[in-house]
Symmetry: D2
């Protein structure tokens, strides 16, 4: 871990000096208010050692990183039946594209684009009140992070609820094909709130540990999912976790990962570590620019790419 | 290796009994003449031990599996400049789709769809006669396979040259955007012949070994590419190697792989093995059906998924 | 007019005997309850003579035929500025397609597809309460039809409001690009109600007279629009009035026309007559099947095609 | 005719002064060599009187205006069976778009976009040698123009044959769906030559007279097509004659018309006149800019719009 510590600090130092920082998301007004220079990183290895640097304890809006957790939760409830509602292929288009839905009868390509995650949230909501469903999601993430202090940033949720017209369009479009079961505004209410969950890098890395260790948290030895399911969620993160930048992330970083427009990325080094980075400036595909750069440096220096020793 | 041997034989036996075999490609008339019941598998571990079963020594048309080798060759010649001509993202559409080219100004999404591979072949051709370029490709594959007997099936090449109208369309379309440098018919001549290279599973697995071992053939200790390049080619195979079934392959098999419509799949277990399967029946996305089923069984039983121990 | 009378009665008789009637729209539940065998026709010539036959006095839901009237009204308010918000080209896709909006940044192709008409309604709404805007639309149509009895079928409006998810998607999608000014639900409230206006063929033909006579109602001699604007609205009806069946309608009927999924068509023979037909069975493009057949027979027998004497 | 003469001269004078002239097509190198300031106009009324001004006797490359004549010829040979191979709807996309072909299985949307015209040419070629087919097309146009001096500009044909990669792509794409019967290079050979036919405005207006007069040349009283067919060809010109600017042309000019990238437009005022204009600068949709401006002025001043007296 000594080595990891060193690398993590090096990278945080290097990131501080870089001037290419991407563009902070402005389409959710509340997100546009974050510090554009923030950078945090946290790595938790198999033994539970934590290497962290930068703003690793500052909570940020996890946004689409939440899709990993809601997918896990929904698979626990619906099992493979979930795949009737959402596909498993990269989309070849932007995170909020609606074109594919028209050509494929309302079935979103995968659970990690907005449309797919809305469909997943709709499954979690079924049979519940929005408040209950949201409570379940929050409890699940707190359980994964082993931290009861994780909360929802209501200002962000409200901001997106006021301005998230494309998500409203996506949801209504799917509803027109019968892909959503619940009233659209209820499903979206839960969805906007799950995106507004705020977590620090440290909390996020903790919450992702089960994916690095065959579905089990090695510290608590609590099983979250079966090993095969953990592998499969990692596979989806690899092929679909970065919207239309998934190929680039795999090519450069070589780890499964999921990004959010809040600037966070959760990456998994199977058997080795759970990693979270956060930096709000985004690249053209909507993924954290420095987050990707930092992860590329990390996997290179530690030899953690899953595509070669 | 004992265990690998056993698993390979088990799988070959199981595949022989299955009745779901997919559909043999009929759009290249010559390919439609293969035995629909053929199934072969070959696994070569780090020590060079070979476990093979079924029709593992019968040559078949490698078709798009050749794209892995021509990409490797072209990267050796053009380096990262190659990425000016072709992208690195999954396409979200069929192997021979032309739609994406119109929206993205003739730049193919990745080197593993037809358009992308044609652009890569065009790079190899530049400065050469078609015969020389084809000779170079064939020599490279023979070197990788450590087998001088690998040849081109001229009947398949001629068949595709007569009927490959969609590939002619793709190439001319790219040419109209200046993405190809050479006369279209010359580039396509080389492309159709490289697709018609015939190899057995054993030869194919041998040729893929450098990808499993950081760019180096562990038996001959010859370096083919730098470790980072091997990792990156694996990453591209993971996100783009199975056309619009890449997500599914990653989800089920958990290894980088590249398929061809001749029914072959080359899969890489980094650090562990190079694997080739061949079975001509294809699924809806144009990938070998039993090939994928066999690889899924193999990685499960041997614990070789790169997404979890 | 004697001749017109005869032709109109002949056609109504012929339509009664036909067994090819298309499919009644079922996606708006309330519309699915109409009599599938209804057929009405009304022709009003330059002198105000009316030839009518069949169910020409039965009101039906005019649906998208209303788009002609709201476009006329909005042009009166916004003038050519309206064309900042909506294009003038045929869409080459279905009436409720959303694909084009993504490729063209939320600007709908023309005012006669759903997205375009919603944008037009949004212009009418600006500066008003929904109730006022709707009142203005209804008053305008009553004025055109010279008939105060025209009303809105609230059951149809409510039905569409409950089930019109694709229209909600279209509106929110445009809103995300800033193409709509008003709250989406208010704009859609007006839109759904305008579509639910019920009129008979006789009323509809009367309301269309200004388009046949250079913007002026020849009976009352009231000017509705300038001659040039009337010609231009006719031109838009010709190229865009039947969704992705506009070419077919021009080819077969040879008159500008606008259809609605309620089965109505308003067609204009410039200088000669305003024509309305109604028959609820639709063809694959969502246009009244017998309506088009009847209009084709009418223009042929009376020599009214604008493409040749 | 006195009045027509005056208006035509006025318009030619006005066009000479305008500085907005569009962009000369550069993708066919030979076309890029024309005089960008050229402007010609010729109007032939029902009595055969000719009003002409500007460069009305200078031949230019008719390019896609030829599609009107080849459609007429092919309908004469294949009748309505032709519509098995090509549709009748506006495309909603650029003249050389290939996207629609992928979504609609190789059937082009209409005979006036490139793909559609290639399919029409393929029908004319069937059963003939390319030389014969081309001879037939040329004889037909000479017959229509009543002028044996109309010829093919071989330099333009050769230029397009060398650089027409997108047309080669379109043709091969259709061939892959079985929409073309003949070898692609033969069909394209005829197509490129028909596009390279050179005509003056006077000749072009003469050749279009049958469309203005119910299929019959009023001077020679020779029948070219039945009246219904003439009307239908006019209808297709109205909805599809200006690629993705067809709506705009209908809206502004109000006549059926067909443009070519050589800068020519043939427009038809049914019962009144056949009109040809030529000016090489194109607008964004690939239609002659001043040609459209001139026709808009002409129809306005003469009251020739078919959408209102």
């Amino acid at each position: 871990m000594h080595n990891i510590d060193l690398v993590v600090r090096e990278i945080a130092d290097e990131m501080r000096l870089r001037t290419d920082r991407g563009e902070v998301a402005h389409y959710i007004p509340e997100l546009a208010r974050v510090d554009p220079n923030a950078f945090g990183i946290a790595v938790i290895d198999a033994d539970g050692n934590i290497a962290a640097a930068g703003d690793s304890d500052t909570p940020f809006s996890i946004q689409s990183v939440s899709k990993v957790f809601t997918l896990t939760l929904a698979l626990g409830k619906a099992g493979d039946w979930l795949w009737q509602r959402v596909g498993r292929e990269p989309s070849g288009s932007a995170f909020n594209s609606i074109v594919q839905l028209e050509y494929e009868k309302g079935i979103p390509r995968n659970p990690f684009i907005n449309a797919g995650a809305i469909a997943v949230t709709d499954l979690i909501l079924s049979g519940h009140q929005p408040r209950e469903a949201l409570g379940e999601i929050l409890r699940f993430i707190r359980f994964l992070a082993d931290d009861q202090s994780v909360t929802i940033d209501e200002a962000v949720a409200a901001s997106e609820q006021r301005t998230g017209f494309r998500n409203v369009a996506l949801a209504n479009y799917m509803k027109s094909f019968g892909v959503l079961e619940n009233p659209v505004d209820l499903t979206l209410g839960v969805y906007f709130h799950q995106c507004a969950i705020a977590m620090s890098c440290r909390q996020l890395a903790m919450a992702g540990r089960f994916l690095a260790h065959n579905g089990r948290n090695p510290s608590t030895d609590m099983s979250v999912v079966q090993p095969e399911r953990a592998r499969r969620i990692n596979a989806l993160m690899m092929t679909c976790g970065h919207y239309d930048g998934s190929g680039e992330f795999a090519y450069r970083v070589g780890l499964p990962g999921k990004s959010g427009v809040g600037g966070g990325i959760l990456a998994i080094a199977p058997g080795k570590a759970s990693i979270a980075v956060g930096s709000p400036g985004l690249d053209a595909a909507g993924n954290s620019h420095l987050g990707r750069v930092a992860l590329e440096a990390l996997t290179k220096r530690l030899g953690w790419s899953i595509f070669g020793v």
